[in-house]
């Protein structure tokens, strides 16, 4: 276990350094949330019930989700393309810990998009942005990150099982913005889409963050949302383990760990 934690932590640190110079990830974490925050604030600022903290949280979620989705679906393949996958598989640490660490690095990096969205609202639009229930928001924030990260860990082996799966995953970026209720409440969507939203961990992450930042989620309802986030995280982590084993076994049988 200690070995896996070291692999996780080392991968997080390495990936943080790596992302700091990766233009695509810089775009996902900063440029895209910036434009989303500016656009949504401009669109909604005349609405009487407009709450700028909703946009700050929502646009930050878009940044986090984009990084997790692209990082997750390409996590294994990118190692394969740069010739490091064989080294990771040939090392005693598990690939699961390495990929989870890599995603954690990506998420830590993308969290800064929330600060950027805050800056857009506070300085560009002059809003007073206030989180109403700070302790609950802090708890929700950690659980939301774990839940979205866990989904990324599940996506990682799925992304390498078949090219078609990876292509399907990469087109999920914007639909999840909508189905997750990042920027608009899902109640605006047709009723038949709601079950899909309820099955998605990013939706519950958005519920927790929006609810605690606005102060509308507390008590038992807050505990229930936290429980959903924890359970969905656990489910993703547990489901990912056999998938990683399957992917590795298949790659060793088919000889697809390297490009050559």
């Amino acid at each position: 276990m200690r070995r896996e934690l070291r692999a996780f932590s080392a991968s997080t640190r390495l990936w943080l350094r790596y992302m700091a110079v990766d233009r695509f990830m810089l775009f996902c974490a900063f440029v895209q949330p910036f434009f989303i925050a500016v656009t949504v604030m401009y669109m909604l600022h005349h609405q009487p019930q407009f709450d700028p903290v909703y946009v700050v949280v929502g646009s930050a979620l878009t940044g986090i989700w984009s990084v997790v989705l692209f990082d997750g679906s390409w996590a294994i393949n990118s190692e394969r393309f740069q010739g490091t996958l064989e080294l990771l598989v040939g090392a005693p640490s598990s690939l699961y810990a390495v990929i989870a660490g890599k995603l954690a690095g990506g998420m830590a990096f993308s969290v800064t998009s929330m600060a950027l969205s805050y800056a857009v609202g506070a300085w560009l639009f002059g809003y007073s942005i206030v989180v109403r229930d700070v302790p609950a928001f802090a708890v929700a924030f950690v659980l939301a990150l774990i839940a979205i990260g866990a989904l990324g860990v599940l996506i990682a082996p799925l992304g390498i099982l078949a090219r078609s799966v990876r292509q399907f995953l990469t087109v999920l970026e914007h639909p999840i913005y909508i189905l997750g209720g990042f920027l608009f409440p899902v109640l605006l969507l047709p009723g038949w889409l709601l079950p899909i939203s309820y099955a998605l961990p990013p939706y519950w992450a958005a519920v927790a963050l929006h609810g605690t930042s606005s102060g509308e989620l507390s008590g038992v309802a807050f505990a229930e949302v936290c429980a959903v986030l924890l359970l969905s995280s656990l489910a993703c982590f547990v489901l990912a383990a056999p998938l990683f084993r399957l992917v590795l076994r298949r790659a060793r049988v088919e000889g697809t760990l390297s490009l050559t």
Partner: protein, 323 residues
């Protein structure tokens, strides 16, 4: 107990062609390979491209599962006991890939030291030791993307040694290195051998295998075609001479005619820019030259020389062609 055992190992890769009507095809990389490598031995694996050298190394480093047969390293089965093997072996594959280019050489080593569970207090010291060993200490904090090919190869060597493995696999480690870099790497391999490591080295360079290896296995088309010390392999051609003929525009019909001559043991062609170099192994020595020239009628022949056979000629005789 041998450090490495391969027992009738077979490895087949399945490929497919076409888009709509996909056709599957099995490519046999290893037909039936059996051999043993002793503890502390430096074993050379020679063979042309596609012979199965890299496949063998990948099976022994647990990166590939054999289609049939059994392989073990330090008594551990490569399929069943992969987790026991991985901390005990180190490997380097030739070429520049396999590094994190956007971070420094030191970052790369520190990262892999963590993955190999090197004791945290020892990591910095170990990384510095290895950077000194491979001569990269001065450039350690620079991004790998600025390294030369030789520097990347040396960084790979340092990475392989981080956890002080008992068995080392070096797959064409000097490929693409300049002569000085290749010599330094060979010296490092000699030091590791002297330190008691078991080493499997694949290479295309006969002189490298001759100079370094205790024993050599030659594989061709997935089968072991010769096994012995460099001296034993040289003895295969000790009574032979090699006639080298520089020719222009040699064709398959000429080669077939040469191979049909009863005094010719093997014929190899090395294609150069505007000409070809024919290497003919024969027991006749200089006496073979007029008859060879007669067989190459109407073909322009340049320089002709006769020399004693070397390990490379033994290799050519065994695999029947040059790279």
């Amino acid at each position: 107990m041998p450090a490495i055992t391969l027992d009738h190992v077979r490895r087949v890769f399945r490929t497919s062609t076409g888009v709509i009507r996909r056709k599957r095809k099995d490519v046999v990389a290893l037909e039936d390979l059996s051999l043993e490598v002793g503890e502390g031995e430096l074993f050379g694996l020679l063979g042309p491209n596609g012979a199965g050298k890299t496949t063998t190394v990948k099976i022994l480093t647990t990166l590939l599962i054999p289609t049939a047969g059994r392989a073990s390293v330090l008594g551990y089965d490569v399929v069943r006991d992969a987790r026991q093997i991985r901390p005990r072996v180190g490997f380097v594959f030739g070429g520049e890939r396999g590094l994190y280019y956007r971070v420094s050489g030191r970052d790369n080593l520190e990262y892999f030291a963590e993955l190999y569970a090197v004791e945290p207090r020892r990591i910095r010291v170990r990384v510095d030791e290895l950077l000194d060993l491979v001569g990269l200490r001065d450039r350690a904090n620079e991004r790998v993307e600025g390294y030369s090919r030789g520097m990347k190869q040396r960084l790979h060597l340092a990475r392989m040694l981080l956890h002080d493995p008992a068995v080392l696999f070096l797959d064409e480690p000097t490929i693409g290195l300049d002569p000085i870099g290749a010599r330094e790497l060979r010296e490092a391999v000699e030091r590791l051998h002297a330190a008691g490591k078991t080493i499997v080295l694949t290479t295309h360079y006969m002189f490298e295998a001759d100079a370094l290896c205790d024993r050599i296995g030659v594989i061709n088309e997935g089968k072991l075609v010769a096994l012995g010390t460099p001296e034993e392999l040289k003895r295969l051609v000790s009574d032979k001479s090699v006639v080298e003929l520089e020719v222009y525009g040699v064709g398959e019909e000429h080669l077939a005619r040469l191979r049909a001559l009863d005094f010719v043991d093997s014929v190899a062609v090395e294609r150069r820019e505007l000409r070809e170099l024919l290497r003919v192994q024969t027991a006749l020595g200089e006496r073979a030259v007029p008859r060879l020239m007669a067989s190459l009628e109407r073909l322009e022949v340049g320089r002709v020389s006769v020399r004693e056979a070397t390990l490379e000629d033994a290799y050519v005789r065994l695999v029947g062609k040059l790279e």
